[in-house]
Amino acid sequence: MNPSMLTTDQRDALQELTNIAMGQAGASLATLLDEFVDLSVPRIRIVEVADLPAALAELVGKNNLVSAARQSFYGHLRGEAIVIFGEPGCQALADLMGFEGDLGEQGETELLLDVANVLCGACLGGMMEQIRNFTDTGGPAELSFSMPSLMARQVTAGQLIDSKRVQWSHALLLEVNFTIKNRDFIAHLTMLMPEEGIDKIRAIVDEFLEAF
C-alpha cells in the first residue's frame, strides 16, 4: 500500500479524533479572544511533501497572501506544526485582542505566534487526551513543544514551503476554518511528520478502531 494512503476506516477514525481535538482548539481560541468561534469540520488527509506546496496553494487560494508560524512537537508524536493565516486574519485578530491602530510588525508577529501556539497546543493536546483514553500501549501520550517562530509573512502559499528542503516525507494536512462572528479569519493547521510519525498515527488509529 502506498504509505501516504489511509483506508476509509482509518481516515474516519482520524477525523473523529481530530474533530474532538479541534473542538477544544476552537474553545481555547474563543477563550483567548473572548469571542464566539465557529469552526468547520476538519478535512484531513496525508500528502507527500513534494505535493505539499500545491496542496497548500489549493487550501488557501493560489494568489492569496498568507502568514505562517511553525512549532515543533516531540514525545509521543514527533513533527512540526504549521499554522497558516489568511491575510485578513491578522487585522481581525489585532482588532479582537484590543490592539488599536497600527500594531507594528513585532506586535503582529507576537500575536500570530500566540494564536498559533494556542491552536497547536490545544489541538495536539486534545489529540493526546483522546489517545490516552483508549490506549495504554506505547508509553504515555504526552508531548513537549518548542517555542513557535514565524515562517513567513505576506507570501503566497506556494512560496511557503520549499519541498526540496524538507527532510520528512509526509504531511498530515488538517484543514480547519476558524470563523469569528462576521470577521474573515481563517487558519489552516498542517502537521509535518517523518515517516515513522505517520506510521505511528496509523497504529494509533488502528488501536482506536479496535477499541470501539
Binding site: 481555547s28 477563550t31 483567548l32 513585532q106 506586535g107 508577529t109 507576537e110 505566534l113 500566540d114 501556539n117 494556542v118 497546543g121 490545544a122 493536546g125 513543544f145 517555542m147 513557535p148 517562530s149
Partner: protein, 324 residues
C-alpha cells in the same frame, strides 16, 4: 542497591540548573525562585517567595505579563515569549562583559501550566532562558544581510538604487496604495543625446555627467522620495504621496535646474538636458507595470516633441505615434 539519596534530586537540580525557574500562583505570588533568578536579580529566594512578583519587581511590564500568565491559567496551555519580540522579561546583566555586543541579557521564556490532579492549572512555572548568544549572532547576521542587500540594490557608479530595487519598490508602493489608498507618482527621465557625450568627450566624461546629474537631483529630493538608475542614461523617481500635478511641478524644476548649468569635466563645459515622462498611481491600474509603461509613453512624447521637456501621461498619448 540504591542508597537513599542524600538530598532531594529534583529540588537540587532546579536550584542549580543554568536557566531561570520560578513559579507563580494565581495571585502572582512567587512560590519558587531558583538560583539563576536569585543571582541575576540580586534578590534571594527568601526575599521573594511569598511576595507578589510585581511588588518585588515593579519594573516588569505588568499588564502584558499578567495577560500572558492568565492565558496559561485560562487555557491550561503553555505559552512562550521570544526575545525577538521582547528582548527581555527581567532586565538582567548578561555574562559577556568582554565579548559584549549587548547591554542586557536577551531572554526566551516558556510558561508552563502546573496542573493539579483535576487537570486544571493551579500555578504557572516560568522558565527563563539566556538567549544572549543567539541574539548577538542573529543581530550580526541581520546586519550582514542588510549590508549585502544594500549593496545588491545599488548602482555601482552613482550609488543610487538600481533597477532591481526600483522594480521591487514600485511593486510595494503599488501594493501599499492599493491597500491603504493615497497615491504616488513616477517620473522616468533620460539624459538627452547622451551617446554623443560619450562619443565626443569619452566615457569618463559620460560617467562624470551621470554622477553630477544624480547629485543635483538628489539635492532636491524629499527624504521619502526614491531615485534610481534604471539603466544606461535612464533614471527613475518615485514620489510617495504625490499626485501628478505635484510631480509635474517638481519635474519641471529639475529639468530647468539641469538645463541651466552645464556639467564641467576637465575644464570642458558639457551642456546637459533631460527629457521626462510622469504618471501617477490610479486604483484601476492592473499592476505596477502600468506605471512604467505610462511614464515610458510620456517620456517618448517628450523626446518626439524635441527633448528637454516634461510630459505627463494621458490616455490620448497612447495613440500618438510619438516614438522618435
Amino acid at each position: 542497591m540504591n542508597a537513599p539519596p542524600l538530598f532531594n534530586l529534583a529540588e537540587t537540580v532546579v536550584k542549580w540548573v543554568d536557566v531561570g525557574i520560578f513559579v507563580l500562583n494565581k495571585n502572582f505570588e512567587v512560590q519558587l525562585w531558583n538560583n539563576f533568578m536569585a543571582h541575576h536579580s540580586g534578590r534571594l529566594a527568601e526575599e521573594v517567595v511569598g511576595k507578589s512578583l510585581f511588588e518585588a519587581f515593579p519594573d516588569l511590564p505588568k499588564p502584558w505579563f499578567t495577560k500572558k500568565v492568565n492565558s496559561v491559567f485560562l487555557l491550561n496551555n503553555f505559552a512562550f515569549i521570544s526575545w525577538e519580540h521582547r528582548p527581555y522579561l527581567f532586565r538582567f546583566a548578561h555574562n559577556r562583559p568582554i565579548t559584549g555586543g549587548a547591554d542586557h541579557m536577551y531572554q526566551n521564556c516558556m510558561l508552563l501550566p502546573l496542573k493539579a490532579e483535576h487537570g486544571k492549572a493551579e500555578a504557572v512555572c516560568v522558565v527563563v532562558f539566556d538567549a544572549t548568544d543567539t541574539a548577538i549572532a542573529q543581530n550580526l547576521l541581520k546586519e550582514a544581510l542588510e549590508t549585502i542587500s544594500e549593496i545588491s540594490n545599488r548602482d555601482g557608479l552613482t550609488g543610487i538604487y538600481n533597477r532591481r530595487y526600483l522594480e521591487n519598490r514600485l511593486s510595494s508602493e503599488f501594493d501599499r496604495a492599493r491597500r491603504y489608498g493615497g497615491t504616488f507618482s513616477m517620473i522616468l527621465f533620460d539624459l538627452d543625446h547622451f551617446k554623443k557625450v560619450n562619443d565626443t568627450y569619452g566615457h569618463l566624461a559620460g560617467d562624470k555627467v551621470l554622477v553630477e546629474i544624480t547629485r543635483r537631483v538628489k539635492e532636491k529630493l524629499r527624504s521619502s522620495d526614491v531615485i534610481g538608475r534604471y539603466g544606461g542614461e535612464e533614471f527613475v523617481l518615485i514620489l510617495p504621496q504625490t499626485p501628478l500635478d505635484g510631480a509635474h511641478q517638481f519635474g519641471e524644476r529639475l529639468r530647468q535646474m539641469i538645463a541651466a548649468e552645464p556639467v564641467i569635466f576637465n575644464d570642458i563645459s558639457i551642456p546637459v538636458t533631460i527629457s521626462m515622462g510622469a504618471t501617477e498611481y490610479r486604483a484601476d491600474m492592473p499592476g505596477y507595470a502600468a506605471l512604467t509603461h505610462q511614464s515610458d509613453v510620456a517620456l517618448y512624447v517628450s523626446k518626439g516633441a524635441g527633448r528637454n521637456r516634461m510630459t505627463c501621461y494621458a490616455p490620448e498619448l497612447e495613440a500618438a505615434d510619438a516614438k522618435p
